[in-house]
């Protein structure tokens, strides 16, 4: 913008000269010149319009433009007149408000104050006065009761549009946003919401969360823009680690705002669309997972104030399923994690395999609900690897489902068999003192007499291998070698870093000890990241 304004002010001089030339003579030459320059002039006028529109916000630019017009040595009366006019305009722009009542002017002068001295205080008092009017309060008891009619409030919101980025106006903006009248229609000017939302997203205004929630509840486009703005940040070219995603999310105030079911539904819908459009991209999955973490956390904090049943947030889901999913693994001892997992698996399976699709939506809906609470899927994989016992079918099903929800039952059963076979090999190797990378490779190898594994199944197997490396006593020795074998390409490295990050993030949230595994995971993550940038 700085570049534009430099060019713009010199353009302005250029056009001013041109205009005076065209004005004075009307020969064939000037006519031709005019025609030639018309498109460029049009472009300039368009730019000027943009600049003037920003007048309040970019007062500086306007002032710079006017400064350029001042001629330090006017040669004739015309130039003097222009100088005089420009000076008047500058003075007008820069001067603070002057009281036009004589009495008041005399008072302030009598006390030795210039308008520049009391302008900030006056603005503050006006803003407070207007804000408290909106809240229907009495000011210090010396005013009679006044009601602001809806038209006035509408006009006020319109007037505030260019003022939104001025910090002094914040109390008024807040009062407008939280104003609840008795009119059935929205009383505030729509562009007001746009202006406030944009200022908020660009961090030019700071508002309390309650005001922002009001903004989003009253003006759907603002909520949508805010969510898209968040998506932009989350799904950028560089992989964002879950900690950072959590920061962005909390910063955006969306998880907290989503405690209001209407907002949650809209944001959730947008996440769903993003997921469908990207065909289940892991970044979107991660974002949904972290969003749900933050949302549940915020909901718990507000527990005393808001009392919406979970059905209002997830209207298409089975209530009992939601209750189980909402359980925090931290509250259940690790040895007993099998139970909720089995329970989830059974409930999901019942819904998915119900041919009539009941009232709880098809496989995709189920899966979409499930991945909100993605931590459970990660826990399944971990549990299956760590446990000495025979893998329960319910958990195998859950794992297969979480990776590939659209599989038909035959395909899924196939996956389950594959996974079971691999797990069987892995269990034999778990406590082996002479563990080698080749052993692991053999364990994960596809059997020749079956169809090649679909890519999602391969991904699943890779995950199991990674979990094995983190948990098996001899895992840290062969870890790097195995990973090099498993993730030779950039894409696979990317996948691995994502898995490691997710695992560490989950362990932090669950306050899981496991110092050795943690150390290994962190080291591997660091190595993979630097290898990735080195390439």
């Amino acid at each position: 913008m700085a570049q534009d304004s430099v060019g713009f002010s010199s353009d302005y001089q250029f056009w001013l000269q041109k205009l005076s030339v065209w004005d004075q003579a009307s020969t064939l030459e000037t006519q031709q010149d005019t025609c030639l320059h018309l498109p460029r002039f049009q472009e300039f006028l368009r730019q000027m319009y943009e600049v003037l529109k920003e007048m309040m916000k970019a007062k500086k630019i306007l002032i710079w433009c006017l400064c350029c017009l001042i001629n330090k040595e006017p040669q004739n009366s015309e130039e003097s007149k222009l100088n005089s006019w420009t000076r008047g305009l500058l003075s007008h722009i820069l001067s603070a408000f002057r009281f036009d009542t004589k009495e008041v002017g005399l008072f302030t002068q009598g006390l030795g104050y210039a308008p520049a001295d009391y302008c900030p205080g006056l603005l503050k008092n006006m803003v407070l006065s207007l804000a408290s009017e909106l809240r229907e309060n009495h000011l210090n008891g010396f005013n009679t009761q006044r009601r602001m009619v809806p038209e006035k409030i509408r006009f006020l919101s319109r007037v505030c549009i260019p003022l939104v980025t001025l910090p002094d106006i914040e109390p008024l903006v807040e009062a407008l946003l939280t104003y609840h009248g008795y009119e059935p229609q929205e009383v505030l000017w729509p562009e007001f919401f746009d202006a406030v939302n944009e200022a908020f997203l660009l961090k030019k205004i700071s508002l309390p969360t309650s005001a922002v929630v009001c903004l989003w509840l009253r003006h759907l486009p603002s909520l949508e823009k805010a969510t898209l703005h968040l998506f932009d940040k989350l799904i950028s070219s560089e992989r964002n680690f879950l900690r950072r995603i959590e920061c962005f999310l909390k910063d955006s105030l969306l998880p907290e705002a989503a405690c209001h079911p209407a907002i949650f539904r809209i944001v959730d819908e947008m996440f769903r669309c993003a997921l469908l459009e990207t065909d289940g991209a892991p970044e979107v999955l991660a974002a949904i997972q972290v969003f749900t973490w933050c949302f549940v956390e915020a909901l718990e904090k507000k527990n005393k104030q808001l009392k919406f049943t979970f059905k209002t947030y997830f209207p298409y889901a089975s209530p009992s399923l939601i209750m189980v999913l909402l359980q925090h693994p931290k509250e259940i001892p690790q040895e007993l994690w099998h139970q909720p997992l089995k329970h989830i698996s059974e409930m999901l399976r019942e819904i998915v395999e119900d041919q009539t699709h009941g009232s709880y939506g098809g496989p995709f809906e189920c899966w979409f609900l499930f991945i909100h609470f993605g931590g459970w899927a990660d826990i399944v994989a971990e549990q299956l690897v760590m446990s000495e016992a025979e893998p329960p079918e319910a958990l195998l099903w859950l794992l297969a489902f979480s990776y590939s929800p659209r599989d038909r039952s035959l395909q899924r059963t196939q996956t389950m068999i594959e996974v079971k076979a691999v797990l069987g090999h892995l269990k034999k190797l778990f406590r082996s003192p002479t563990l080698s990378a080749k052993d692991l490779q053999a364990a994960a190898a596809e059997s020749r007499d079956r169809d090649p594994r679909p890519p999602l199944c391969q991904q699943l197997i890779r995950r199991l291998i990674l979990n094995f490396l983190l948990w098996a006593p001899g895992g840290h020795v062969i870890a790097r070698e195995v990973i090099t074998l498993m993730a030779p390409t950039d894409e696979l490295t990317y996948e691995m870093t994502g898995l490691l990050d997710q695992t560490l993030y989950r362990w932090d949230h669950l306050c899981m000890e496991a110092p050795r595994s943690r150390k290994l995971a962190r080291e591997l993550l660091a190595e993979l990241r630097s290898a990735g940038t080195a390439r």
Partner: protein, 358 residues
């Protein structure tokens, strides 16, 4: 130290000149020097803000200079009136020069270049002079735009204007040196003589209604070790009002009834004085048998309606004011002879009109 004070003197003179036509003789070099001086003093302000001795010395010199006839308690001259103003002296100078049409084109051009260097120069923080001027301009525009939200007589602007004036008054009161006991009174009396009185009365009333813990509203920097506590300004006002009976009479006569009631409710000393005046006014009324109402002997006496209106307002106030008023009325009624029948004592009639439930 002496050189610093001299510098201050010269700059104050410069500031005074900057509003006159004398600036027509200034060239760009003069403007540059003037801005340099201002910048130096601003630096002094930030450096010695915490240095109590230097600060007090500077403040004393400024206040002495800042009075029109040199006497403490007289009205201040616009310009540098206290230490805090030093922090804004460059802005003050710049604004005066910008508005002064007598300043030559070359000098004006130079001034603009210094103040608004243009997009090339990075505007590091908003505390630069440019940022400060632009911010001021934005605020001024905001005030312009918001004032149109007025409606009817009691516009939002009017309340805010009164409140702002009240804050300014209290700030000036705070600055009057405490050494002289008569300082504040003399100051207020000077104002009373010079300024439009009706407005002044309203401002005093609003000042008396401001919340007691009002922080310094005009200064943009936090002042360390403010010598006076807020709320003392209010005490000075009350003291002065009670000492000057003509002002007190005007105060009680001219201000809107509701406003007076609020003030009386907040300040018991004033409520007593007010009640005293009201009883005084009441005694001037005689019962006119023909008209069947109480009338004043002379035209300037307060009418029955007005008297009743005031008492009614007072009785609608929360206790203890309400109780105080009723007690006073009862005692007046008793003094008069404790009549129950209307037409004999104004106090009886007032109590009857106010009804037992009020």
């Amino acid at each position: 130290m002496e050189s610093l004070l001299q510098h201050l003197e010269r700059f104050s003179e410069l500031l005074a000149v900057s509003r006159t036509t004398h600036v027509s003789t200034w060239d760009p070099a003069t403007v540059r020097r003037a801005l340099q001086w201002a910048r130096y003093l601003r630096h002094v302000h930030s450096r010695f803000g915490r240095h109590v001795r230097i600060r007090t010395a500077l403040e004393r010199r400024l206040q002495k200079r800042g009075r029109q006839d040199g006497a403490p308690g007289s009205a201040p001259v616009p310009g540098l009136t206290n230490f805090q103003a030093l922090g804004r002296c460059d802005r003050l100078l710049s604004l005066r020069l910008l508005e002064n049409r007598a300043l030559g084109d070359a000098a004006y051009h130079y001034l603009l270049q210094q103040l608004f260097p243009g997009p090339g120069v990075p505007d590091a923080d908003e505390e630069t002079l440019q940022g400060s001027l632009v911010r001021l301009a934005r605020r001024g525009s905001a005030v312009h735009m918001l004032r149109f939200i007025g409606y009817g007589e009691n516009s939002v602007l009017e309340d805010a204007v009164l409140k702002t004036q009240a804050e300014l008054l209290l700030e000036r009161l705070r600055e009057v040196p405490k050494a002289e006991a008569e300082g504040p009174s003399r100051f207020l009396s000077t104002l009373w003589d010079r300024l439009p009185q009706n407005n002044f009365l309203k401002v005093i009333a609003v000042a008396l209604l401001l919340p007691p813990s009002s922080p310094r509203p005009q200064g943009e920097e936090l002042e360390l070790g403010t010598p006076k506590t807020p709320g003392e300004g209010g005490q000075e006002l009350i003291r002065w009002l009670l000492a000057k009976s003509d002002v007190m009479a005007a105060f009680c006569h001219n201000l809107p009834v509701g406003l007076l009631t609020s003030v009386a409710g907040r300040h018991p000393e004033l409520s007593r004085a007010y009640l005293g005046l009201l009883t005084d006014w009441g005694r001037h009324l005689r019962y006119d048998l023909e008209k069947g109402t109480w009338v004043g002997a002379e035209s300037q006496h307060v009418s029955w309606e007005e008297l009743y209106g005031r008492f009614q307002s007072l009785c609608q106030a929360p206790p203890p004011l309400k109780d105080e008023v009723l007690t006073a009325l009862e005692s007046c009624k008793a003094q008069d002879g404790d009549f129950q029948v209307p037409g004999l004592s104004i106090w009886t009639d007032l109590l009857l009109a106010l009804g037992s439930g009020s």
